[in-house]
Amino acid sequence: MTSPHDRARAYLEEARAQRPKLDPRRREHLKQAVLAGVAGTAVAASSASAAGSWFTSLGAKVVMGLTAAAVGSGLTYGVMKTVVPHPAPVAAASKPIAPAVAIARPTPAVEVASASEPVVVVEPVVEQPPRAAPRLPRTSEAAPPPAPVAEETPPIVPAPEAPKRPQNEAERPPEVVAAPTARRPTQPAPSPALDEELGHLRKAMSLHEAQDEAGAATVLATYEAQFPHGVLRVEALTLRVLVACARGRTDDADVVWRVLEREAPHVLSTPRLQQSCARH
């Protein structure tokens, strides 16, 4: 005869004994997704605190399949999260994992207080972490081996076949994605090349913030040599204006400004570029 009290204790002990663990691959995958989101936001935050957060929208743009957030768009402090596709079934879980989805949600207003651009808040939540980006390289591994590139910034040559981006992204209202219960269609996974592009830009950005403008220029030159038609070209050009200004090379900044005028005029209105030394 077992009393309800004893049975309750026995049930609890059984429940305690059940300690499912995440499959190692799922565990690692999630960690990388978190770190990628952190990396993107860290870079973005520092950029935003300087003047406008164009670099953040870069991260969001990547996650959104390069469609939703443009440089200098209203989706300031764009945040990212990817439900990364799981490479293997999870030992501890019996149900299939959600398919790969890219969702962008804005962070709470409190987190973007330093940003100068409008903030979109979906809903007040306990704490709304950014949606993690796809696998991004960490700082330590982000920087590719420096290519033998001259420190001097090479002249800007407009790419004749640069991929056309929608020019009206800046005018488009920011896309707001609500709670992740409704999944968005699967976005294609970013290519390793995209990761590499991001790595270059993160490196350049951190050098620029560390006032190592020559180093930043070198990284940007490497980037442009390696990815003349890269999907992050506009971001690289934007950073290049800032770096040129920081080096006192107004003429260089003007040249890059004119390239941006042709290729991505919508970014020229961002505070960061408006406050730059480039002629406008």
Partner: protein
């Protein structure tokens, strides 16, 4: 804190607490399909707040507290209706010794607990999960949930009473 410094500390934190966060989220009713999202949320918050983790606070308690808040957030969005059983853990049983009778008993116990969890209010659910299932101490729970220790004690006591009555009803008053 620099990004790299945060990452270094974060690795150890993540490895030591991700399973705990997974269990807390599951037991608090986050759907399996949303667990990865929720886990990312938990550890993104943890990463960001890592610098505020005070000495003397157990990282597991700290992460559990974050997981509880994230779980509440997901529940508020309608991730799971209160009456729905907690699917993930109920289905993830591994028999300890391969005996079907033992497995059946365990299944019965775990299922009962999961059904009970689905009946609890958020305030009782969080303390019950942390105290009874994760076996965290009252001071740790108080720290994690930012509530007085005495409140933890009283809620745990209340939830235990509910659980015994729930089991009593479930088993028809005794076996």
């Amino acid at each position: 804190m620099s990004l790299d410094a945060a990452v270094v500390g974060f690795d150890a934190l993540y490895e030591s607490t991700v399973d705990l966060a997974f269990r807390v989220l599951s037991r608090m009713g986050v759907r399996e399909a949303e667990l990865d999202d929720a886990l990312q949320d938990v550890f993104f918050v943890a990463h960001r707040r890592l610098g505020s983790l005070r000495a003397g606070v157990r990282p597991s308690s700290w992460v559990a507290g974050i997981a509880v808040k994230v779980a509440h957030d997901y529940r508020r969005r309608g991730a799971r209706k209160p009456s729905e059983p907690l699917e993930p853990l109920a289905d993830q049983l591994e028999t300890k010794d391969g005996h079907p009778e033992r497995a059946a008993m365990e299944r019965e116990g775990v299922r009962a607990v999961n059904q009970f969890l689905a009946t609890l209010s958020p305030a009782l659910l969080e303390v019950f999960v942390l105290a009874e299932l994760e076996q965290q101490s009252a001071p740790e729970i108080a720290e994690a949930l930012a509530i007085p220790v005495n409140t933890v004690y009283s809620r745990v006591r209340l939830a235990r009473g509910h659980f015994e009555r729930f089991v009593e009803q479930l088993t028809g008053g005794g076996a």
